[in-house]
């Protein structure tokens, strides 16, 4: 009978194991309770990026020094898995107290009542630009504070020396000039492009450029009922111009799209003369590639109108409703958003300020001369709008763009398919 008893014990152990695994684990809030000594522990999550992580650490240290009763456990995750990690933690009711979120993700959480409302929203939102705030707003209330103005349009990286070698002393000032420069700057090696004249083929920039070219024609890409409308002549003109840059002018190609490197990496390696990318990439050039032979200049408008652009709400901080330390967490993000702290964070991370007083501070521009171009166009940014699933939206544009470039779809067919796919998805998320 010894063996059955042993097996019985094993069965009990397994059952306990199963039961433990199946019952809800302790919420993060339980760990963050104020302990007997009145100490408060907050858990903060963010995505991993060297500059950003270092900037967070500095502000956390500063906050802890000023608030000895609070300790902040800072945890970081690779960007590729961060969105999924956040969703899993919130759906399992074990979120961090303070979560860094991308603005476009926030509506999904605020709609499901998972985030704490920022007190005195009306006054607080006056301090920010409209575009970075859009994602954090729901029914006029704020559910987080943006740290940056996520800007992918308006400015581009250029190699002045490459331009000079082709006889250009100044960056292009009109769209026609831009295309002309790009053609001349492109260097081919057989069928392959050795240097791309104007590279905009990244998962962000195809979509952003397309949307901006529509806006610059004084048109809109939103229809009724949170549906996109790409059946306009302006959308067709915008998409045709982008397709033509690759299919006809051959100033860029699709070979590096979806690869492991960013378009800015190819730029800093000298594989493109002009690259349409946000100013956050400047940090990579200066710190990773140790180069400073580039400039960040305005991208000319597609029309005679000002160079308007669509922008998402970028990275910001939110407080989870499940947090047992909501007050302390709110206090931390208020502290983070104070001018001095946020300005140092923006400076160190090469992000464009979402707060007007920082963007307008001459000291900020003095410390960040590369930011001149983005700061000049901030007022032209429009919030991208109520995109239900950001990744899906961008993927539809990017996938169909490739099919149009390779001639497998006409521009009209491609736009119709993009519109249909995105609107179906928007409807799916409305229920």
């Amino acid at each position: 009978m010894r063996i059955p008893k042993f097996m019985l014990m094993l069965a009990v152990v397994c059952m306990v194991f199963v039961a433990t695994g199946c019952t809800g684990s302790s919420k993060s809030g339980d760990d963050t309770n104020a302990n007997a000594q009145g100490k408060v522990k907050l858990v903060l999550w963010s995505h991993q990026e060297d500059q950003i992580v270092n900037a967070y650490k500095e502000i956390i240290s500063k906050y802890e020094a000023l608030h000895p009763e609070t300790t902040i456990e800072y945890q970081t995750f690779p960007y590729d898995v961060y969105n999924q990690k956040l969703k899993a933690s919130f759906s399992a009711a074990t979120p961090p107290d303070v979560a860094e979120m991308f603005g476009t993700w926030v509506p999904n959480y605020s709609r499901n009542d998972l985030l704490v409302e920022i007190p005195d929203s009306e006054t607080v939102k006056q301090a920010y630009y409209e575009a970075p705030l859009g994602g954090y707003l729901r029914d006029g209330k704020l559910y987080g504070l943006p740290l940056e103005y996520n800007i992918e349009n308006g400015g581009m990286l250029i190699h002045p020396q490459m331009l000079k070698e082709q006889g250009y002393d100044q960056p292009p000032s009109t769209w026609t000039e831009l295309v002309e420069y790009a053609k001349k700057l492109t260097v081919k090696n057989g069928n392959a492009l050795q240097v791309k004249g104007f590279d905009f083929v990244s998962s962000d920039n195809i979509t952003f450029t397309f949307l901006s070219l529509i806006l610059q024609q004084n048109a809109s890409f939103w229809g009724e009922n949170e549906h996109v409308n790409f059946s306009t002549s302006e959308a067709e003109k915008a998409m045709s111009a982008l397709v033509s840059l690759i299919a006809d002018d051959q100033v860029a190609d699709l070979t590096t799209f979806g690869g492991e490197l960013d378009t800015s990496d190819y730029f800093f390696r000298g594989n493109s003369a002009m690259t349409y990318r946000g100013p956050w990439t400047i940090a990579a050039g200066l710190n990773n590639y140790k180069v400073n032979d580039f400039e960040y200049v305005p991208v000319p408008s597609f029309t005679d109108n000002p160079p308007s652009f669509a922008a998402e709400s970028g990275w910001g901080l939110t407080v989870a409703k499940q947090s047992k330390q909501q007050e302390a967490a709110l206090d931390f993000i208020r502290f983070f958003s104070e001018k001095e702290n946020l300005e140092s964070w923006n400076t160190e991370t090469f992000t464009v300020p979402a707060k007007k007083e920082i963007a307008e501070d001459p000291e900020y521009l003095k410390n960040n001369p590369y930011m001149k171009t983005p700061l000049e166009v901030l007022s032209l940014g429009q919030w991208i709008g109520p995109v239900a699933d950001r990744d899906y939206f961008f993927k539809q544009v990017n996938d169909h763009f490739q099919l149009m470039v390779t001639g497998r779809l006409s521009v009209k067919e491609g736009l119709a398919k993009i519109e249909q796919a995105i609107n179906d998805n928007q409807d799916q998320h409305k229920r």
Partner: protein, 311 residues
């Protein structure tokens, strides 16, 4: 039918002892099986049943409620171009990889089996099995660096040979084949070991008889080895097909389904729908269809591969 009636006290005691032994045996079997059945039920059957249930709902894990949508998720698949494409990519991947895997592993196993020096035979077996030990995710990362356009091993070789470098993972023409290459490298060792075991179990007398009859190598292979290896072949093909249908880490790490969804296998599409787009209901419906497809193919394989002989 006659029943033995206990004739005396000793027989009664013997029978009672037998019954007690039988009861103890049953108890032992029950208790032994409970833990594993419990684990299997909770971590295998329950998720499948849960997923079947979810497939008729529209459910966002962040939301507090799920909306019953009936067969809508299943009907949506018919018009989902990405789903249909991923189904096609999955079948292409499985068909090519399984076929190449089985031909290659059978060939290598036959070659290793012919080696007569024991330590050399063991060395080959170990060498081919080594990649199987490494985690697939790690192998995928290493191969990604070898496929790198600028500094990858393969393009360095091509450049040395004065050939144009290739976008191994970004060109729709090559991406799927690049992942297939990596999968084969990482996975063939397992089937080689199985085939060697299968080949070792075929009695030498059949080969000797065939040689006496004057049969050539190919004839021996096709008329002796292959038929007698049918059971191993069936096991290998079923497990390989199921395993390749479920292939996920290499696609998630190396291509994320790009370019143009040319490497978007169904497992990856299900994952993306569930965890990136939060469409748990739709992802569950796709998983259910996927389960049925794998089940059907496995049943067909088992039926077609059935053998009745003994040796």
């Amino acid at each position: 039918m006659s029943v033995a009636v206990p004739s005396n006290k000793t027989d009664k005691v013997k029978l009672a002892g037998k019954a007690a032994g039988l009861r103890a045996k049953r108890r032992f079997i029950t208790i032994s099986l409970v833990p594993i059945l419990l684990l299997f039920g909770v971590f295998a059957f329950l998720p499948i049943i849960w997923s079947l249930g979810l497939s008729v709902y529209q459910y966002d894990p962040l939301g507090s409620k799920a909306l019953f949508v009936g067969a809508e998720n299943y009907l949506r698949m018919m018009n989902d171009a990405v789903f249909l494409k991923s189904l096609w990519v999955t079948f292409r991947f499985v068909a090519i990889t399984v076929l190449v895997n089985i031909i290659l592993t059978l060939f290598i196993a036959s070659a290793i089996q012919r080696v007569r020096i024991p330590w050399l035979k063991n060395l080959f077996r170990t060498l081919f099995f080594l990649p199987t030990i490494a985690p697939l995710a790690g192998t995928a990362i290493v191969w990604s660096t070898m496929f790198n356009y600028n500094n990858g091993l393969f393009n360095i070789i091509l450049t040395k040979l004065h050939m144009t470098p290739i976008q191994w993972l970004a060109d729709p023409q090559y991406a799927l084949y690049s992942v297939i290459l990596m999968t084969l490298w990482a996975d063939i060792g397992y089937n080689i070991v199985l085939f060697i075991a299968g080949l070792d179990s075929i009695p030498d007398m059949y080969y000797e008889a065939a040689r006496l009859e004057g049969a050539g190598r190919w004839r021996i292979f096709f008329q002796i080895t292959l038929p007698l290896l049918r059971r191993t072949l069936l096991f290998v093909s079923v497990t390989t097909v199921v395993s390749y249908f479920q292939a996920f880490p290499q696609f998630q790490i190396m291509t994320k389904g790009e370019p143009f969804n040319e490497t978007r296998v169904l497992a990856l599409h299900i994952y993306d729908q569930a965890f990136s787009s939060s469409n748990m209901g739709y992802a569950s419906a796709m998983a259910t269809v996927f389960l049925m497809i794998i089940l059907l193919i496995t049943v067909l394989q088992l039926r077609w591969g059935r053998t009745q002989w003994e040796h």
